[in-house]
């Protein structure tokens, strides 16, 4: 996926002279994950600029650049390194359009290497989407496939609204059977995709958990369950229509994500489904989420992350009939 993101950035830089990349180590080094590899060499150190090590300064400077007609693409080196920029994000980036009644727009893309599963040390594996989703004025997207990595990044850079672009770190090294010629039509931000059709239950997920859900769906066949798998792709805006339709087809749903379950994205998603699909539900909506703990050390992260087994256990709990003991424990 790293090469795909690199191609998306290269194409954006080629097509629009207003696009400027900036961040820590994005220039000569090409980023710690090499997402910006070769871009400074091709487009110059002004358009792919190494900055001082200061996230608020990076994002705050991007605000001023956007006010003056540029389209900054900012890299936050790791998910939890983005927190110093949080004030700029919630106090300015998210609100500037609204505050100025549309006069100042901030077409800033904030790329954040996101999530765990790569055996990294602390502060390199957070799932921070909940913070961003809760801030009106931001779009939040998270690709799970190579085509979406390209398409969503291009759409994010083209968007006149600020976009938090979460890049699942553990997919960086997934091999791409992909070339720019082979990508399908780019879908607009805000649409979910059904990755697999099924009838027994709907798994709703995004980003790094999609692969886990697909594996769970393969395993589920042995139990006689046909699982539908829905990839949200965009958390804000949220595609209520596609999600509701998918849940109505099966009557059962499990929301799967890495970030902590308590007050997490799954809580919002489950509530939205309940509000729209209550009479179609055969069982309560369940969540398979990260534990409610600070991100664990690498040797323990497998206990934290959603697994195939946990997903299948949840699906099993959904198959209850009203009045059975399983149902009561649900």
């Amino acid at each position: 996926m790293a090469q795909v993101l690199n191609a998306a950035l290269r194409d954006a830089l080629r097509e629009d002279p207003a696009v400027h990349i900036m961040g820590e180590d994005v220039g000569t080094l090409g980023g710690v994950f090499r997402i910006t590899d070769g871009l400074a060499a091709e487009f110059g150190s002004d358009r792919c600029a190494d900055t001082p090590l200061a996230e608020a300064g990076i994002l705050g400077t991007a605000v001023g650049m956007a006010m003056n007609g540029l389209r900054p693409v900012v890299e936050m080196q790791f998910d939890s390194f983005a927190y110093p920029a949080f004030e700029q994000l919630v106090s300015h980036v998210a609100r500037m359009r609204n505050r100025t009644k549309g006069r100042i727009q901030l077409p800033i893309t904030i790329r954040i290497p996101y999530g765990g599963g790569i055996g990294a040390v602390e502060h390199h594996s957070d799932s921070s989407e909940g913070y961003y989703m809760h801030t009106p004025g931001l779009h939040v997207v998270c690709p799970a496939t190579h085509a979406d990595a390209y398409g969503l990044l291009r759409a994010s850079i083209a968007s006149d609204d600020p976009v938090i672009f979460l890049e699942p770190k553990r997919l960086y090294w997934s091999k791409a059977q992909w070339s720019p010629q082979s990508i399908p039509e780019v879908d607009p931000i805000g649409t979910a995709a059904v990755r697999r059709h099924g009838t027994s239950a709907t798994l709703i997920t995004y980003g790094p958990s999609l692969q886990v859900c697909m594996e769970a769906a393969d395993e589920a066949i042995k139990e006689g369950w046909q699982l539908e798998v829905l990839d949200l792709r965009s958390l804000v805006p949220f595609d209520d229509e596609t999600v509701s339709a998918a849940v109505r087809r099966t009557g059962r749903a499990v929301v799967v994500h890495e970030s902590a379950g308590f007050a997490g994205p799954g809580a919002e998603i489950a509530a939205r489904i309940t509000e729209r699909c209550f009479h179609h539900l055969e069982a309560p909506i369940l969540r398979v989420a990260g534990l409610d703990i600070p991100y664990p050390p690498p040797m323990l992260e497998s206990h934290h992350l959603p697994s195939v087994d946990r997903i299948l256990d949840a699906v099993a709990r959904l198959q209850w009939e009203p009045g059975t003991s399983d149902g009561e424990s649900c």
């Binding site: 001082p52 003056n68 359009r97 549309g102 968007s159």
Partner: protein
Amino acid sequence: MTTTVEKVDVTVSTPVQPPQIDPAALLPEREPFQVLGTARAGGIDDELLRTLYWDVVRGRRYNLQATALAKQGRLAVYPSTTGQEACEVAAARALSPQDWLFPTYRDTLAAIVRGVDPVEALAVMRGDWHHGYDPYAHRVAPLTTPLATQLPHAVGLARAARLKGEDTVALAMVGDGGTSEGDFYEAVNFAAVLQAPVVFLVQNNRFAISVPLAKQSAALALADKAVGFGLPGRLVDGNDVVAVHQVLAEAVERARHGGGPTLVEAMTYRIDPHTNSDDDSRYRDPSEVERWRGHDPVLVLERSLRDMGVLDDADVEGAARSADDFAADLRERHDHQPSPDPMTLFSHVFANKTPQLSEQEAMVRAELQAQAEEDSQL
């Protein structure tokens, strides 16, 4: 036993050459720069002096009027710049039309001198929206309430200008308290590293709400901080409008011609409380305020210009009358501001409204229609 040490090829990229500046040249003078009452006052264009005078007189009248509106409850709050008019006026007058001003929440006067309609500048205080004027019309960024967060914006705007080949300079204002914020340090550092055409104006009015400067910073002068970032610091008498104007104008031109950023500290004093809802008798001695009234920027300027023969009684009366007219116009138009339309709550959150927001919009529209029907039946 022999150990084989493998030779490692270390490729070191060409280091960036630091600018060849004598560190001593970056340090500000120990005494704040003054013009009025010194030999430097000679030879300044009379027209400029008169403009600055009319500006500070009108600025004082504006502060009194806005404070009155706040006391009458017609503004939710007003943070006065009484005593700081020289800094406000000089900041706006040091800029050319293509330049940008980045004000704090206190700097409505600077925005007005820059050309912003006072009624629009006070929108945020009145509470009809978070921001009231077109930032691009006079190149004045939105007033910023979080401290120092607008400084990196100024750096970014100036950097973009340079990348686009424009000769725009950004002048960013901050208070003494704001210099304790992380964004201040990040912005000044970015500006220095990028050699961005930015001028930082610290209005040191001695208090961050109630906390005096001595508890805010242990630096000898806030302008001294510039040296550590590799840019020049200037210390200026903030109640001497001609001195502040001169220092800022020099810094602006230096930035415009590729000389990089400057950090200017203007030593002034906040005569009024932090806002109209603050009780300043809890943290400072009224005699201190009285002492500063003796160094009032309006009086200092008037006295000097009379001494220089630039100003006579008729000029002073003319400026006062003009300021009264300005205040009357502000009062009149302020009272006729329409209430904001609730539907605008949804208009500007995104360029493309989310489906979720459209649903909420429909809900509020229905509520308003129901309310209107109910009202019409009464």
